[in-house]
Point group: C2
Chain length 346, copies 2
DNA sequence: GATGCTTACCCAATCGATTGGGTTGTTGAC
DNA sequence: GTCAACAACCCAATCGATTGGGTAAGCATC
C-alpha cells in the first residue's frame, strides 16, 4: 500500500489513464463528480477499475493544478488578532474541524489588531487566492471591511461583529446582562467594569449589556467605574489598579469582559490586600479552561467558542455558495464559582 | 492605486505583456529574478516600465500557476498537538513571522497528540503540496517520522525532539536542572515532579534534568514523587492531588513541567488548605504570560518560545535548500517569583 | 435503411507562470 | 568586411486537472 510517494514521483491523472489505456479526462470525470457526471462518462466497470487503481497508487489530485483551472482553492483564510489568545485559538480549532469536514483547508494569520497588519495579512491571503475570509479581528470603525465588500471578496466575521456584515458571535449583550443580574442578586451595589478595547464589539456589547441592565435594575455606575483596557492579563491588572485606586466607594465587584483580564484583576485585588470572592467579587468572560481550575475558581460567562468557529465556517460556505446568510448570535451561559459566590450585605 | 481587483479580473503576466507589447516570458524574467537573470533578459528601460506597470495594475503572481510549474508552493505545514495550548500558539507566532520574512506562508493543524490524527494531518498537508513540515507534536516512539524521512519529505521538529532528526527546542534538561538548583538552595528536601506526558521529550527531559541534578546534589526522590500527567490545568491538578494524598512526608515543593499544570497544582495545594509559596513551593515551565500575573505569581523556567518557532523555520529552510542542518537547543532562564520565593528550613 | 438516441469514451483548449532554447540587431575587434 | 559576442527579446512546451465539445459503435424505431 501507499506506493504513491514511495518511488518518489507523485501519481497524476495521466499516469492512471495511460496505465488503464483510457483518456485522462475520463479518469477525471470518474474521480471528480459524485456520480451525476460520472454516470454517462464511463461504464460502471471502468469506473470501478479507475477507482481501484487510484486507491492502489495512492492518487491524490494536485490542488495547484485543479485550482489553476477551476479558480477555486478550497482554502479559507482566517485572520485573528493573535492566536496566542486562547479564545481565538479555540475558535480556530472549531474552524479547522468544520472546514476539514467540508473539504477546505485554512490559513491563519495574526494581525495583532493593527489596522496596517490587517491590510497586509488580508492582501497576503488574497494573493494566495483563498476562496474566502473569516475575519476575527474586525474593528467597529474598520474601512477595510467596506473595501473588501466593494471588491466582492467573500468574507464573514467571527467573534466580533460589525453592523452590516454577516458574523458568527456570542450574544455578548446577553452575556453582560447575565453578569449584571447575578451581581445584583448577590447584593452588590458598587460595581466596576474592565471593559476591554473600545474598537471590539465584544467589549462594547458586553459592557453595554452589563451597564444597561444594571441601570434597569436601579443601580448606578459612575463614569470612572468603566475602564477600557487591553484584553490580556496585564491589561486587566492595570485597569483593576486604576479602579481600586480611584473609585470611591471601592467597588465590591468587578466584571472583566475577558477571563485573562479577570485573572489580572484578581492579582490586583490580592496585592491590595483584599480577598477575591470575599472582599471583591470578580467575574470574567468566555469561561476558558483556566477559569474553573484557578486557585480561586473564576466565575465566568461561558461562550460557545468552538461553535462560533464552526458557525463562521458554515456562514462562509454559504457566502461562497452564493446564498444569502444571516448573522448568528450564540447564547452564553453564566458559570458561577468561588470568585463571586458570596453575597454582599447592602 | 490598487486598480487590480477593482474591475474584478485579476491581472496576469499576459495582461502586462500585451499592454507593453512584449512577451510574457520577458515580463516573468524581469519580475521574477532578483537581477542576475533580469540583466540580460531586458533593457533597464524596459524593466523599469514593466515594474512600473506591475505596480500600477497591482499585479500579484498566481501562486497556483507558479507552483504548478515550479513544483514549489512556498508553503510550510505546521502540525501541533493543539493551538489552544498557549505554548504552541506562541511558537506558531514565531513561525508565522519568520516564514513571512522568507516569503513562505504556513498551514497549521492540530493533531491532539493522537497518532492517527498525526498521520491524517500529515497526509492532508502533503496533499496540499507543502514544501516541508514543521512537526511540533513528535512522539518519542513515533514511526511516522521514520516513514516521512524514508519518503524524503523535508521536515524538522519543534519544541519536542527525537534523536536522529533535526529539531528546534528549548534545552529542557538544563531547564530541569535550574529548578533543582533553585529548590535545593531554598532548603527544600522533599520534592515532587508533575512530569507531563512520557511520550514528549519536553516532559522527559525536564523531568530527567531535575531528577538527575537533584540526586547529584545529594537529594532523594522516591518513585511515587514523579507523576506523569497531561499538560493542561486539569492534568496538573489531578497529579498534584495524587502527590498530596500519597507522598509521605508531604513534599514542600512541586515542579510542574508546564505552567498550566502548575496552575492546576496551585489549585490543588490551595484546596488542601495549604498556602502556595509558604507551605508548598510551586515552579512551572515556559514562563507563559500568565505566570507573572497570577494572583500568586508563579516561578517558571522561561523558554524562548518565539525563538524556537523562528528557529524551526530557519532549520526547515535549510533543509529545503538542501543544506545539512544541526539541531538547535535554546537556553532557558529561571524566573523566581512568589510561588517559590520563600526558604524552607531543613 | 435512414434517423435518432444512448453509451462510453476521446480531443484539445485552458488556467498562469516558468524556462530552455532560439532569433534578431548592434557593436567591437581584427 | 567579417565574425564573434552580446543585448534584448520571442517561442513554445510544460506543469496537472478540468471541461465543452466531439465521435464511433450499438441499438431501437419508423
Amino acid at each position: 500500500m501507499d506506493e504513491s510517494t514511495a518511488g518518489g514521483r507523485t501519481v497524476t491523472l495521466k499516469d492512471l489513464a495511460s496505465e488503464l489505456g483510457i483518456h485522462p479526462s475520463t479518469v477525471s470525470r470518474i474521480l471528480h463528480s459524485g456520480s451525476e457526471v460520472a454516470r454517462g462518462a464511463a461504464s460502471v466497470a471502468t469506473a470501478e477499475r479507475v477507482r481501484e487503481l487510484a486507491r492502489k497508487r495512492g492518487y491524490s489530485p494536485d490542488p495547484q493544478a485543479a485550482g489553476l483551472r477551476t479558480r477555486r482553492t478550497r482554502l479559507m483564510g482566517v485572520i485573528v488578532p493573535r492566536l496566542s489568545d486562547l479564545v481565538l485559538a479555540i475558535m480556530y480549532e472549531g474552524i479547522d474541524e468544520a472546514a476539514a469536514e467540508l473539504g477546505y483547508s485554512t490559513f491563519v494569520m495574526n494581525s495583532r489588531d493593527d489596522p496596517e497588519e490587517q491590510r497586509r495579512k488580508t492582501d497576503t491571503m488574497l494573493a494566495r487566492r483563498v476562496d474566502g475570509l473569516i475575519i476575527g479581528d474586525a474593528h467597529l470603525d474598520s474601512g477595510l471591511l467596506r473595501e473588501l465588500a466593494a471588491r466582492k471578496v467573500p468574507f464573514v466575521l467571527m467573534n466580533r461583529r460589525v453592523p452590516g456584515f454577516p458574523s458568527a458571535t456570542c450574544d455578548d449583550v446577553l452575556g453582560g446582562e447575565l453578569v449584571a443580574d447575578h451581581l445584583w442578586r448577590k447584593g452588590h451595589r458598587n460595581v466596576a467594569v474592565i471593559a476591554g478595547e473600545p474598537y471590539a464589539s465584544t467589549a462594547v456589547d458586553r459592557t453595554a449589556g452589563f451597564v444597561d441592565r444594571w441601570r434597569a435594575l436601579g443601580g448606578q455606575i459612575p463614569r470612572n467605574a468603566v475602564v477600557w483596557s487591553r484584553f490580556d492579563t496585564a491589561g486587566g491588572r492595570e485597569a483593576a489598579e486604576i479602579i481600586l485606586a480611584h473609585c470611591n466607594p471601592r467597588p465590591t465587584a468587578l466584571f472583566a469582559v475577558n477571563d485573562f483580564a479577570a485573572i489580572g484583576a484578581m492579582g490586583a485585588v490580592r496585592s491590595h490586600g483584599l480577598s477575591v470572592g470575599r472582599d471583591v467579587a470578580v467575574v470574567g468572560f468566555n469561561d476558558t479552561s483556566l477559569a474553573a481550575e484557578l486557585p480561586i475558581p473564576l466565575s465566568s460567562v461561558r461562550s460557545p467558542m468552538l461553535d462560533i468557529g464552526r458557525t463562521a465556517v458554515q456562514l462562509l460556505k454559504g457566502v461562497l455558495d452564493g446564498r444569502e446568510v444571516e448573522s448568528v448570535r450564540l447564547e452564553p451561559v453564566l458559570c458561577v464559582r468561588e470568585s463571586s459566590a458570596f453575597g454582599n450585605a447592602v
